[in-house]
């Protein structure tokens, strides 16, 4: 059922330049890692799509990069404030993999902590712009970290196993070329998150598809 429900803020904690926004879970289903929620951004018309970062008991936690007015408003939320939350939405990662290997870049590591927990803390490779950004790596167990100019694709093992990744588009494009069959979580601007607006399209097999319905996790289709 598509119902936006109110959730109270437990805390908004800094993690390097990012903020971990912790909400009371209430009756919400945390969903499958890689799925996302639309979070009401105070003072803004449109909610912001965020993949679930952590699902501690009684909570839903989101890792947010304050890059615009909506994400800044979310990061500035005070404990006790309430926001509307819609989700979980979209398709998450397929967890039936035998040799999981997580790859993340920048704020794209957001869904990996929950994914790591659900997969039994497999190996992970994370790339960041600076040491400060890399403080977020503490959220992902068993992670090897690289800082620019070193890229995750340079450190990828010859046989990485079943790659599950999320990160900036150039990283995902590079992984798509290097690791056929990798599960890649993409990002797009969304107004609704449930297929209504047609705003979040990405090109899949030569056609525009709505990422909120077809993704955000897509398997390499090349």
């Amino acid at each position: 059922m598509l119902t936006r429900a109110p959730h109270r803020v437990v805390a908004a904690e800094p993690v390097g330049p990012y903020t971990l926004l912790r909400l009371e879970r209430g009756g919400a289903d945390p969903g499958i890692p890689g799925q996302f929620f639309m979070l009401e951004a105070p003072g803004r018309l449109l909610p912001r799509p965020m993949s679930l970062c952590l699902a501690p008991p009684g909570e839903l936690a989101f890792l947010i990069d304050p890059i615009g007015p909506g994400t800044r408003a979310l990061c500035a939320l005070e404990p006790g404030a309430g926001i509307g939350v819609l989700g979980p939405l979209g398709n998450g990662y397929d967890l039936s993999v035998s040799r999981p290997f997580l790859v993340g870049g920048g704020i794209g590591i957001a869904p990996l902590p929950y994914l790591s927990e659900r997969l039994g803390q497999p190996r992970a490779l994370l790339g960041f712009r600076t040491e400060w950004h890399a403080e977020a790596a503490a959220l992902v167990p068993n992670a090897e970290v690289c800082i620019e100019p070193t890229l995750v694709t340079e450190l990828l093992p010859d046989d990485p196993g079943d790659v599950l990744a999320c990160g900036p588009e150039p990283m995902l494009e590079a992984l798509r070329a290097l690791v056929p069959g990798a599960q890649l979580a993409w990002e797009a601007r969304m107004a609704c998150g449930y297929g209504a607006c047609y705003g979040c399209v990405v090109e899949v097999a030569g056609h525009y598809e709505r990422l909120c319905l077809s993704g955000p996790v897509l398997r390499d289709v090349s």
Binding site: L2, P6, R8, L45, Y194, G195, G199
Partner: protein, 310 residues
């Protein structure tokens, strides 16, 4: 056809703001579902980014992405009919002939009404006038024809009169206004297509003025839309002359908006002493008796409520 609106619908969605197959429960909370605009040929739509939040509202440049009329008739319409609710089909084209041929193919009981999208800000327009397109479609279909007009004109009342003379059965007012937003870092357009359609709360006074002008200029029933976020917004549009109200941008943040707005609209109409919302139609031009004006506390209660965590 009470009030001139097919099926007596009071709340609809604005075309392109809801996919009834992806969110059937949201569609069913409306009185009729209006499809995304169908064009003669399949269209991929405009390149992303297609969405930008701007001051007070949002821009979109979807560009009429759709399957084309052939696949719509075979794949989409039969599934929409299974919803068991009135289906309005929005029709687009790039010439009067294209509009008319698409309307001819929709001329059956499966379709409650046809809305002619004469005003998409994101694609090239047909060379003919709105009235010429309506006249061409009128010859090819007996279904109720609603002409969706652009607010970007000085004399929308004149257009309303012209499409009425051409055989339209109603008006849909209004489409989005063309707008542009620039990236704060690059000063380049934020949308892949450049400009887009501006929607959201700032469109409401524009829609009110258009509805008011068309209600004076023509006798056609009006489905009003533009910046409706609350039941009070819907009541205002009815007071300006609308017979039904369509929800657009509000559906994006809140798929529960139809039920909320319906309840607010009914409460708002009742507070003014109207037995049903439609009875408020046109009162903007016919002032209420003083005793019917509710006190300020009541009016405040009717404003959009924030999410109540209590």
């Amino acid at each position: 056809m009470s009030r001139g609106i097919p099926g007596g619908a009071l709340l609809l969605n604005a075309s392109g703001c809801l996919d009834a197959l992806a969110a059937p429960e949201v569609a069913r909370s409306l009185d009729a579902f209006v499809t995304k605009t169908i064009t003669p040929e399949p269209r991929e739509g405009n390149p992303p980014p297609r969405i930008a939040e701007v001051e007070g509202g949002m821009l979109n440049s979807i560009g009429l992405q759709g399957p084309g009329i052939d696949r719509f008739l075979v794949e989409t319409l039969p599934r929409l009919r299974e919803l068991g609710m009135p289906i309005w089909v929005s029709v687009g084209g790039f010439s009067a002939r294209e509009y008319a041929e698409t309307c001819a193919r929709l001329d059956g009981d499966a379709v409650a009404a046809i809305e002619l999208n004469l005003s998409c800000p994101n694609v090239e327009e047909a060379p003919e006038t709105a009235a010429e397109i309506v006249a061409a479609c009128r010859e090819r279909t007996g279904r109720p024809l609603f002409a969706k007009l652009s607010p970007a004109t000085w004399d929308i009342g004149g257009t309303a009169r012209a499409v009425e003379s051409a055989g339209a059965d109603g008006l849909s007012l209004v489409n989005t206004l063309r707008g542009l937003a620039l990236d704060e870092r690059t000063l380049r357009p934020r949308l892949g297509a450049g400009a887009g359609g501006y929607s959201g709360p700032p469109l409401k006074p524009v829609a009110l003025a258009c509805v008011h002008a068309c209600a004076q200029a023509a006798t056609l029933p009006i489905v009003a839309m533009g910046g409706v976020m609350t039941g009070r917004d819907a009541l205002d549009l009815i007071a300006a002359g609308a017979s039904a109200v369509a929800l657009g941008t509000v559906l994006f943040p809140d798929p529960g908006a139809p039920a909320r707005i319906r309840a607010e609209l009914e409460a708002g109409a009742a507070a003014f002493g109207f037995a049903e919302p439609f009875h408020a139609r046109g009162v903007a031009s016919n002032p209420l008796p003083r005793e019917a004006v509710p006190d300020l506390a009541t009016a405040k209660d009717l404003q959009m409520r924030k999410i109540d965590l209590a």
